[in-house]
Symmetry: C3
């Protein structure tokens, strides 16, 4: 907790953890080794491929979020890297989004820590100085969709079983305003109104038409397309590209930063309700029974 | 006047008139009986159909607006209803919009009352807890278009004579900023700039392409399509859908609420000008002569 | 300089220079004669055609900007004119945008004067009471694109060599936020994010699809189409059209007006850097050698 809070403060004050700082990490060191987030040797100079490896569905557990952010920070601080492709190591799923077990049967302090980690992950991805290209090789609902929407470019596998969208209302949840802001920035106000209320998950052709992704390609070309798109982005000098990106995205990020504590409190209040806890328990029980 | 102001205050403070309160309504009771707004027995459980019946063109008179808002409030407070289809009982026209007779030859107090009623109607529709689907079975210019744009979903009859748009400039009027905000939220900034300045009325195919409506269907299927769309919306739990809707629409509504009194004063000043009064008189004279 | 500052102040306080004031202009009079901005005799009543004539590429020098603004002010104050078509007298190019020579090897006072002139030009075009239609008969990168985007309607010649976009990052520059705001208002947030970071220049078909222009027509019909579009716009009474335009565009203009001095300071700081000055020098040297 203390470490996570410390990280948040460091990020806020503009100081970033270097590779060494992350490795130092005291008794938390083992926790931050990249078990769930694998960085592949880059085939394109200056580009790393981050593979989400948190089976079975890359759900955004607290540990996954922490590893993912540390991993991005390392790459940002390593001047040999200018761009990152985000993709999944779990067949058929990009990321299932927030882990409901982090929101169920825990205490308020845990909910606060978890929600802050979700916020910090989004701020890190949305404002990254690196070029981020999502190679979406599986279904990406809810928080998985958010990660993709926060990249600079999205390539989706042309598989009708892969659906993408912010489907929180289907789970009895309300998306936080910054999920909404990110979607509105991508597909516009009207399409977002409908998609968010109905919790719509779009197949590739519809996702492309809505502008939720930039390209749909055959499944075996997702990563190669992402790498070739990356080349186009890396043709631009980093400094002016970063300043331009920041100028466009800053207002949206500031909206969260300004209301960050209230957003955490709001999450705790909502998730602590008996009715929400009960429905999450039922949902998780059903999931467990399906597996057996 | 006093009653309308009282209602506005009640709405502002979060208290809503129940069925009984509306029925009670003292010596104003008869006025609020649904003469101009007919609620049809619902064929789909939980869904009411509101038919505008203010012949010949469903213009938004003060009485119509008052009945419409009371009717929506009754349905919102009756827990058996979760969704409402809005449609017209007048052949060929959804609603002609604001009633120019309410703006012509009256005193400032009347203009104030009328404009507040228009504002309150929009706030009620735009932020309704009910799912609102517009079954647009006729032309819908100006205020008629605004009502449709403020619903959650729009189904338009495929009849090239039915046109839709905010054509105020053609009548020598300027739309208030919240009409503009509603249009921008629906079709975007650039399309709104052009449509509003030119007072464009779009035939169905163009309205669909612009995103001003969600679906265009044969005229005899408008209501059945609206009801079937409603089923999709009612599949979402009311509570999370309402919170999500409010999150998306709140900023736009707050924009009006914050400037509500200034907007009324602005309307009075504009409409009281000799030049405007004169052109409205000419317009209304012409309309009268056409009828004879 | 003093004159330019005085003009800026007059504009801010709502007073506008009449034809006479511009003609008076003391010892600066000759400077403001229309050498670089030619007003053609109008073929359509009430409509002037402004031709940019600053060869070879209509770059936005300080003198050009000053003439252009004075010319627009004259037309605004001459009640016989209601609309203006903006087009180019230089073959193959609408305008190459900001003149890099104004940003290179000069002192901070010059940079301040130049940047204020760019700002004032944009405010004048973006909020003009006249109907402005861009007849884009050539390539329009950077500031040239900005002028077109700030008109009320855009007609582009169907020539694949004519490209349009805000390509500042390709020149190692960052667009100011109000260039970004203008683009977002026209093509939306997501398309702007990509276009601005990559400095994309779009051929006519793509510019049309993105909504960056309203119409693409054969090259010899650009001006006639612009004039015929103008007729549609002039069918609307000036007063309500102007109020409507102002209502839609005011927030975007106010965004700059509120931060105008900071934006100037920001420009001076950025452009004064050694690295930027050096890369501009190299760029201008290369340009000079190409000519010989």
């Amino acid at each position: 907790m203390a470490l996570a809070a410390g990280r948040a403060m460091l990020m806020r004050s503009g100081v970033r953890l270097g590779t060494q700082a992350a490795a130092r990490g005291g008794n938390g060191a083992r926790r931050f080794m990249n078990h769930r987030v694998v960085v592949e040797p880059n085939t394109v100079p200056g580009v790393a491929v981050i593979k989400f490896k948190n089976p079975p569905v890359n759900s955004l557990t607290l540990e996954f979020l922490t590893e993912f952010v540390i991993c991005l920070e390392k790459l940002e601080n390593d001047k040999t890297f200018r761009g990152v492709v985000l993709t999944s190591d779990c067949p058929g799923i990009f990321s299932a989004g927030l882990d409901l077990r982090e929101m169920c049967g825990k205490n308020p302090a845990h909910y606060a820590e978890y929600w802050r980690a979700v916020q910090e992950m989004w701020l890190k991805v949305y404002l990254s100085n690196l070029v981020l290209v999502a190679a979406i090789n599986g279904t990406s609902p809810a928080g998985g969709c958010l990660i993709a929407l926060s990249c600079d470019y999205r390539v989706l596998a042309d598989n009708p079983r892969y659906r993408m969208g912010l489907n929180e209302t289907l789970l009895g949840l309300v998306v936080p305003f910054w999920f909404k802001d990110t979607l509105v920035n991508t597909i516009g106000h009207r399409a977002s109104e409908r998609a968010l209320q109905l919790g719509l998950l779009f197949p590739p052709a519809e996702a492309l038409q809505l502008g939720m992704v930039d390209q749909v390609v055959p499944e075996d070309q997702v990563q190669s397309t992402a790498l070739s798109v990356m080349t186009q982005w890396l043709a631009i000098p980093d400094h002016v590209r970063q300043l331009t990106k920041n100028m466009i995205r800053k207002a949206t990020a500031d909206h969260l930063i300004k209301h960050q504590e209230a957003d955490i409190q709001n999450f705790i209040n909502f998730i602590s309700r008996d009715s929400i806890q009960k429905s999450l328990q039922v949902y998780l029980e059903n999931l467990k029974q399906k597996k057996h």
